[in-house]
Subunit: 255 residues, 2 copies
């Protein structure tokens, strides 16, 4: 199993604080040490960092913890291998292009007997059930909507049906983003929080670090953090319901 | 215009020495400061680093210069914008998946009136002629070979025809790799060198740095470096002929 971290904001924001706590679970405070990855949207582009080292020993993770890359949509993942060996091609997030946009995907869970028929448009490079699910999901979206990017509402309806369909094969907590919204589906475990004015202090649960967000934000900033297990000890995190798909836009859940 | 750097080896090798010289051309010894990128194959996976900062100021380029990532196939690029504004989505190399393999592509040059019809299977995210050429190239390969990865010989023949076709629209120096071979096509300017036993000292032309490869290699190592302009002052670099496609496998040109 693995853990997921997502961020969706109304202005480009760095994820240094949350990633610092999250990365500790990659071998220090938890056992997810079989690779990690993080993808930042920046305009239409994506910066993707993946590594099969643990997030606590990786020099690249060290860079991310100290270099504030600002983004409105971020998805990160730490891996404890269940299906697929420890290799770079099996590290989440995965990225593919559809409709002239990059799509970023990460999964926490384990699918059993999931063997969809792929038409060749999107094929896994690695050997995880996760990348297979991502390829199937994009294939089905393209089949349904053809060559035109659908409205967010139409896409949300299609994703609700597809995530439920895939979720029937096992545990399927997932995050997906095209850089304009972050789609989060909870099969068993996912939490979120919205930080907005008035900002307060937050204290990490996985490291002796706190930040007073009122000192590093403007009153208009709004940031949603979505994560497998709450990252802070002094804030109220909202659990997702099982089977719930939430769409985050500009730092707020819209569904 | 831009500059290209590629490496193809028979054993995973780091590119620290060559990238150190090359990165200097991203604003110090040359004017290619509108972004840069580098892609490393690692097994079937790819590490892609792109940045719209110049390669001499980017903290991520700093990491690459000091963190020896080992790979058998690497493609790097420094950009001086001609078509497409300065943005992350316009930074080379570009990556797409075809036949269950990642393909990495970078281009040096400028295409005029190049407007191929795309069927939607691969669409550019950014606004460069380069990404458009890459999408067209993959589309045509998929049309020709269907859902099955062809032999290297068949692929080379197809690429020779496609690169000549695209090259008719302007300057089209390019590098392409699927992690098993590196395809380099010269429209106007490209050089290569093969380093193998007995290894000697090499002196960078863009920075006061030299390395004695005999101290950091084994007698079985073989490394081909392909680059727009020679990187060292004391080695004999081989120029490509205009219109020449070379395929590098295990550190040697095979065609």
């Amino acid at each position: 199993m693995c853990q997921l971290l997502g961020m969706n904001c109304n202005v480009p924001t760095d994820i240094v604080f949350s990633f610092t706590g999250f990365a500790n679970r990659g071998g220090r405070t938890d056992e997810h040490k079989d690779g990690w990855g993080i993808a930042f949207f920046e305009g239409a582009g994506v910066r993707l960092f993946v590594d099969h080292e643990s997030a606590i020993t990786s020099p690249i993770a060290g860079l991310i913890k100290h270099y504030p890359i600002k983004s409105k949509n971020v998805i990160a993942h730490i891996r404890k291998a269940t299906q697929g060996h420890i290799a770079l091609e099996n590290c989440h997030p995965f990225v593919r292009e559809l409709w002239g946009h990059y799509w970023v995907f990460a999964h926490n869970g384990d699918l059993k007997n999931f063997a969809p028929i792929l038409d060749g448009a999107f094929r896994p490079v690695g050997s995880t059930d996760s990348e297979l699910a991502f390829c199937y999901l994009l294939q089905q979206l393209r089949k349904r909507f053809g060559d035109v990017l659908p409205s967010r509402e139409a896409l949300t309806d299609a994703l609700a049906a597809l995530t439920a369909e895939i979720g029937a094969y096992g545990i399927f907590n997932m995050m997906l983003s095209d850089g304009s919204a972050l789609y989060a589906y909870c099969s068993t475990k996912l939490h979120y929080i919205v930080r907005q004015y008035p900002f307060t202090q937050a204290i990490l649960s996985d490291e002796d670090v706190s930040v007073d967000f009122s000192e590093v934000t403007t009153p208009n900033d709004r940031v949603a953090i979505i994560v497998t297990e709450p990252l802070t000890t002094n804030e109220r995190w909202h659990p997702f319901a099982s089977g719930e798909l939430k769409v985050f836009v500009d730092g707020l859940p819209t569904s």
